[in-house]
């Protein structure tokens, strides 16, 4: 019982909420880029919110289900189809044996997440099942999926249907992705920026460059400078840290970031904005808005609350639906 990879995508990898507790040894968390989509996909199929999911980019893989399951897609819209029929995002789908999942074209977003009920079987390393490509551990043999791989389900699902069917409820995710500017908490070296650079950070667009990946987004903007040069010692950094590089451009650290770095820290993306950020593609623009810590914390708390409510509602619907038969 599981999924056969008929065709692999650009970088399909198994991800959970991240490997924590080992950053003092230089081992990054490497969790899902879009932590909200990870949770929504899991919640829709009744999994723990941080269970292992498949993170996909476009071109996305072609997957054949060799046993029935309950699945859900969340995050980017790659126009998914099941046996040729279009599938919605953020809705659970009962899958029949032999169904083939394909993705036609990227309509919006950068990363799509697939969850199945009971989750995938995955290698555990240092307390997490997320992939670490450097150590070649976790996830699916510590690497991205390849054609022919067999992605096993961790638990059997015995609800067999003749034809795949979309369940009649949707997770409303609109409020989980704040529109507009990317919220930023000012960093330790922000005040050292000269006035023009502060203007730039607060008012100019930043474009995501082509050489951006899960480690970091390279941003292109008007050049920025510190009023006074400051040598920084390396110290701990986090997902969302915005650093000023020697070439006067910036880099935003993402899920596979190094654990420490020594460039001036201009700001740190607020948790509530990270999922939206993770759904941007090279060429997209970001504008930043500085917010206070109190605001960042309440926005994050509201997002968490929304996810809890979603979980309660989904569990209720699932129980009702799956037990009525």
């Amino acid at each position: 019982m599981g999924i056969r990879v008929i065709k692999s995508g650009m970088a399909d990898s198994l991800r959970d909420a991240g490997r924590f507790g080992f950053q003092h040894l230089g081992i990054p968390p490497s969790g899902a880029m879009d932590n909200v989509a990870l949770q929504v996909a899991n919640i829709l199929v009744g999994n723990p919110a941080g269970a292992v999911v498949l993170e996909m980019h476009f071109p996305a893989p072609q997957l054949e289900f060799n046993s029935p399951t309950l699945m859900a897609l969340s995050g980017a819209d790659f126009q998914a189809t099941m046996d040729g029929v279009e599938l919605p995002l953020n809705q659970p789908v009962l899958v029949s044996t032999g169904s083939v999942l394909k993705f036609v074209k990227p309509l919006s977003g950068a990363r799509c997440y697939l969850a199945v009920k009971g989750s995938f079987e995955a290698d555990e390393w240092l307390g997490s099942k997320t992939t670490n490509e450097f150590a070649e551990r976790g996830g699916f043999q510590g690497r991205n999926l390849q054609k022919g791989d067999w992605l096993a389900f961790a638990k059997p699902f015995s609800y067999e249907v003749e034809e795949s069917a979309v369940m009649p409820w949707t997770a409303n995710v609109r409020e989980l992705y704040p529109q507009g500017p990317c919220y930023l908490i000012s960093g330790a070296e922000y005040e050292l920026l000269d006035d023009a650079s502060k203007q730039c950070l607060n008012h100019e667009p930043f474009q995501i460059a082509l050489n951006s990946n899960r480690m970091g987004y390279r941003l292109q903007s008007a050049p920025m400078h510190l009023g006074e040069y400051k040598e920084c010692l390396s110290s701990g950094v986090d997902f969302g840290t915005l650093q000023l590089l020697p070439d006067a451009q910036t880099i935003l650290l993402m899920a596979d970031h190094q654990t420490t770095a020594g460039y001036p820290r201009l700001g740190h993306v607020a948790s509530v904005s990270l999922p939206s950020l993770a759904q941007l593609n090279a060429g997209d623009s970001i504008s930043f808005q500085l917010i206070e810590m109190a605001t960042a914390e309440s926005l994050f708390a509201a997002q968490e609350k929304h996810l809890r409510q979603l979980k309660n509602a989904c569990n209720f619907r699932l129980q009702e639906y799956l037990s009525n038969d």
């Binding site: 924590f20 507790g21 080992f22 950053q23 003092h24 040894l25 230089g26 081992i27 968390p29 390393w125 240092l126 450097f134 150590a135 070649e136 551990r137 908490i185 960093g187 330790a188 400051k230 040598e231 920084c232 010692l233 390396s234 110290s235 701990g236 950094v237 986090d238 997902f239 969302g240 840290t241 190094q258 654990t259 420490t260 770095a261 820290r265 740190h268 993306v269 607020a270 948790s271 810590m293 109190a294 960042a296 914390e297 994050f300 708390a301 968490e304």
Partner: protein, 265 residues
């Protein structure tokens, strides 16, 4: 044997071994600054200096925090002169009452620092690491010796004279930033980083020395190589080095290098 650690007396003096000429004191904390590095991460910063005494305080605090194991702290990252904590904002906020999770963490760190001098430090491990300085494994050594007008043996003698402290781990899994180098062999990073540095390469950069655990790009000047494997994904603690370790290098011949490399015990 190589790589096997011995434990030094577990007390404050663990960070003041005489051969390092340390005058460590954890009685009075160094001046510090606490600031956020996100809304779920915080840093306590003891300044912008690579200094044994400051790093000793960082390690004391690091091991104290690890021991405390406060629920909701997801990672503790020590560096040269700072510690960063990654925390679960939702959880910490519950305990913060009407305050912010950040304020709770700020207070927690301040209190921790005040309690430090009451506590015994964990023991420091000493590791003996064989390094081969043969020119086939040390592409920058000859040039450095010429530049500094010293012969190779002298350079090696200086590099292996005293143990180094693992100030922090970062850049790559298990990459230990060690120091401080004797000023006679201090050298800047290479102007153009190499695209490929072999795993096990020993490098120097400024007052630091370190070993690449994996083959990777790198800008440090390469002066030797260890045959030991610094990363073992199958071990419970996958990295050979841990923050706070003392590392003594021992020069070995090229024959010994390949012997150890081919027959890791």
């Amino acid at each position: 044997m190589y790589g096997i650690e011995k434990n030094v007396e577990p007390k404050i003096a663990a960070f003041s071994s005489d051969n390092l000429r340390l005058t460590c004191s954890v009685e009075k904390p160094f001046p510090y600054r606490i600031y956020p590095i996100g809304d779920q991460a915080i840093t306590i910063d003891f300044g912008n200096l690579i200094k044994d005494e400051i790093n000793a305080q960082v390690m004391a605090l690091f091991y104290w925090l690890k021991e405390e194991n406060l629920h909701g702290i997801k990672d503790i990252i020590p560096a040269y002169a700072s510690i960063s904590l990654v925390y679960d904002g939702a959880l910490i906020r519950k305990w913060a009452g009407h305050g912010l999770a950040y304020q709770y963490m700020e207070q927690y760190l301040t209190n921790a620092l005040q309690q430090l001098d009451l506590l015994a430090l964990p023991s420091t491990r000493e590791l003996l690491i064989p390094v081969c300085y043969h020119q086939s494994l040390a592409p920058d050594l000859k040039g450095l010796c010429e530049e500094k007008k010293m012969d190779l043996d002298e350079f090696v003698a200086i590099h292996t004279a005293n143990p180094y402290r693992v100030y922090m781990i970062g850049f790559l899994p298990g990459f230990a930033y060690m120091g401080s180098l004797d000023e006679r062999i201090v050298a800047p990073r290479k102007r153009t980083p190499r695209t490929h540095v072999a795993a096990g390469s020993v490098g120097i950069a400024g007052v630091q020395t370190g070993i690449y655990p994996f083959a990777s790009p790198g800008g440090w000047q390469l002066i030797g190589q260890t045959p030991l494997s610094l990363f073992n994904a199958n071990a419970g603690v996958p990295t050979l080095f841990q923050p706070g370790d003392l590392v003594q290098f021992e020069p070995i011949s090229i024959d010994q290098f390949y012997q150890l490399k081919n027959n890791p015990s």
